[in-house]
């Protein structure tokens, strides 16, 4: 089958971790899915639903099936410059600190976006736009398999987000049940040997669920409670 994948870092196989020497591509779930199907991955880390929707509109007709990972609500719609997406205050602060100080224009734009998020954003507006774009995706392509990433999309509440796989693997690696509690998770860890924010084992499990969903025609909603790993926590995370 000829499959298109749209989404953010949860589907961007090449999204790098803190470990420079780690190649995330071979263990990423889109790569694993590509072993069974002809996969074209349009995902890019940090992008908004609107950005992915534009890729989808211009390309989905070339594909038999579409898998769409629905990113978090409220990301800046378009890249601020090239690959620089203002997807969170942390990301914006990081970009403001790391761009060439001579790029005053870019620093100003990043700062303006940051100030918008701090002082002027309207989260209800962002949620409503998110839902309306989601409707457009379904209206355009009713057979699209929608997979939430972080689970803040109201109309997809019944569906398991991809983060449930990351949580399941962290629970398995740490034995800490708080990883299953969306409201009370332990402090975040730095990713080392992960792909799409998940361990290689979680990617394998997730890829299997995606394969099954392609057969069923809809996203399966029963993530595993735990995932067996061959290495200890420190191999994957710091």
């Amino acid at each position: 089958m000829n499959i298109a994948i749209y989404g953010d870092s949860f589907a961007d196989s090449s999204f790098k971790t803190a470990l420079e020497s780690w190649d995330p591509v071979p263990t990423a779930w889109p790569t694993l899915l590509g072993l069974e199907h002809n996969v074209k991955n349009y995902s890019r880390a940090g992008t908004s639903l609107y950005w992915s929707y534009k890729q989808f509109l211009s390309t989905h007709l070339s594909h038999d099936r579409v898998i769409f990972l629905i990113t978090a609500v409220g990301r800046w719609p378009n890249p601020i410059e090239d690959l620089c997406f203002g997807n969170s205050l942390e990301a914006l602060d990081h970009h403001i600190r790391s761009v060439d100080p001579g790029r005053e224009d870019l620093i100003k734009r990043l700062s303006v976006v940051r100030d918008w998020y701090v002082w002027a954003r309207d989260y209800s507006y962002e949620q409503d736009i998110h839902e309306l774009i989601l409707r457009e995706i379904v209206r355009t392509r009713p057979d699209t398999i929608l997979i939430p990433t972080v689970g803040d999309t109201a109309s997809l509440r019944g569906l398991s987000p991809i983060t449930d796989w990351a949580r399941a693997s962290l629970f398995s690696l740490t034995g800490d049940s708080r990883w299953h509690d969306h409201a009370n998770t332990p402090p975040l860890l730095t990713e080392l040997r992960t792909s799409c924010h998940m361990t290689p084992e979680a990617n394998r499990s997730f890829s299997g669920f995606v394969s099954e969903s392609l057969k069923l025609g809809a996203w399966s909603s029963s993530p595993p409670k735990s995932i067996t790993h061959s290495e200890p926590l420190s191999y994957y995370y710091k």
């Binding site: 378009n78 734009r109 303006v112 976006v113 918008w116 002082w119 002027a120 507006y125 309306l132």
Partner: protein
């Protein structure tokens, strides 16, 4: 009939600007939306400077209580939310663009900004100058129109400036300028109404229209309530008893 009106300053006869001017407050009784109350039970949800999104949210909550809906569709690209200043009580103020944000930052009327209000307005102003995406704003504007139509196919969508939705309310103004013998020389790609707005400043107008224009709009609104489908025949020239400078001053 029980009518709901949604929209911006073209329909908001109770705009706070009128509140601060007894003369304008008095003239508000000549607006089409006010006069419509003589013929129908009207609930006017409009707010000057508000965005299509802000009106859409009110519409979603309230449209089902009304027999007919008149939706004055504002231009795209406005700040989605409205602002409320602690110094002006529960009055709401729309923000149409960076110029209006700058205007509020100058503490007009009885507005006295708190630090937080100032930071918010500065962030909104700077967004327009530095970070806006017209493509995205146009796209979301179309999404909202689609949503209104989906919820209420019988809603009359009336743009303020003529576009694919149909004849805009500002066409009445253009006909008046023709009636005053004005030639609106337009730069390529500019709408004539932009030339009017750039060059002329309304004097004592409420909802941007003269009393004569309000009567014509009222007449067309009464027609569309009885015969759905907004498609008014606006005279090419509208004539007034008074000359142009009675209603407008030229911007410097």
């Amino acid at each position: 009939m029980n009518i709901a009106i949604y929209g911006d300053s073209y329909a908001d006869w109770s705009t706070p600007y009128n509140y601060y001017s007894p003369e304008l407050r008095d003239r508000a009784r000549s607006t089409w939306s006010y006069l419509l109350q003589e013929y129908h039970s009207v609930t006017n949800y409009s707010l000057q400077g508000s965005s299509l999104y802000w009106s859409l949210r009110l519409f979603e909550e309230s449209h089902s209580s009304h027999d007919r809906v008149i939706f004055v569709v504002t231009n795209w690209g406005r700040y989605p939310d409205v602002v409320q200043f602690s110094s002006t009580g529960d009055r709401l103020w729309g923000v149409t663009g960076h110029e209006q944000a700058e205007f509020y930052l100058g503490n007009p009327y009885r507005i006295r900004l708190t630090d937080l209000e100032r930071l918010r307005l500065e962030a909104v102003r700077d967004y327009w100058v530095w970070a806006r995406s017209k493509e995205y704003e146009l796209y979301t504007h179309d999404l909202f129109i689609k949503r209104i139509r989906e919820l209420r196919p019988d809603a009359e969508l009336i743009p303020i400036d003529s576009n694919s939705l149909g004849v805009g309310l500002s066409e009445y103004t253009l006909s008046s300028f023709r009636g005053w013998g004005q030639t609106l020389e337009s730069k390529e790609g500019y709408k004539e109404i932009k030339v009017v707005r750039d060059q002329w400043h309304g004097r004592g107008l409420v909802c941007h229209l003269t009393d004569r224009e309000h009567l014509l709009v009222l007449n067309d609104m009464l027609k569309v309530i009885d015969y759905p489908g907004w498609n008014p025949t606006i005279p090419t020239h509208i004539y007034h008893d008074q000359p142009l400078d009675h209603y407008y001053t030229r911007r410097k």
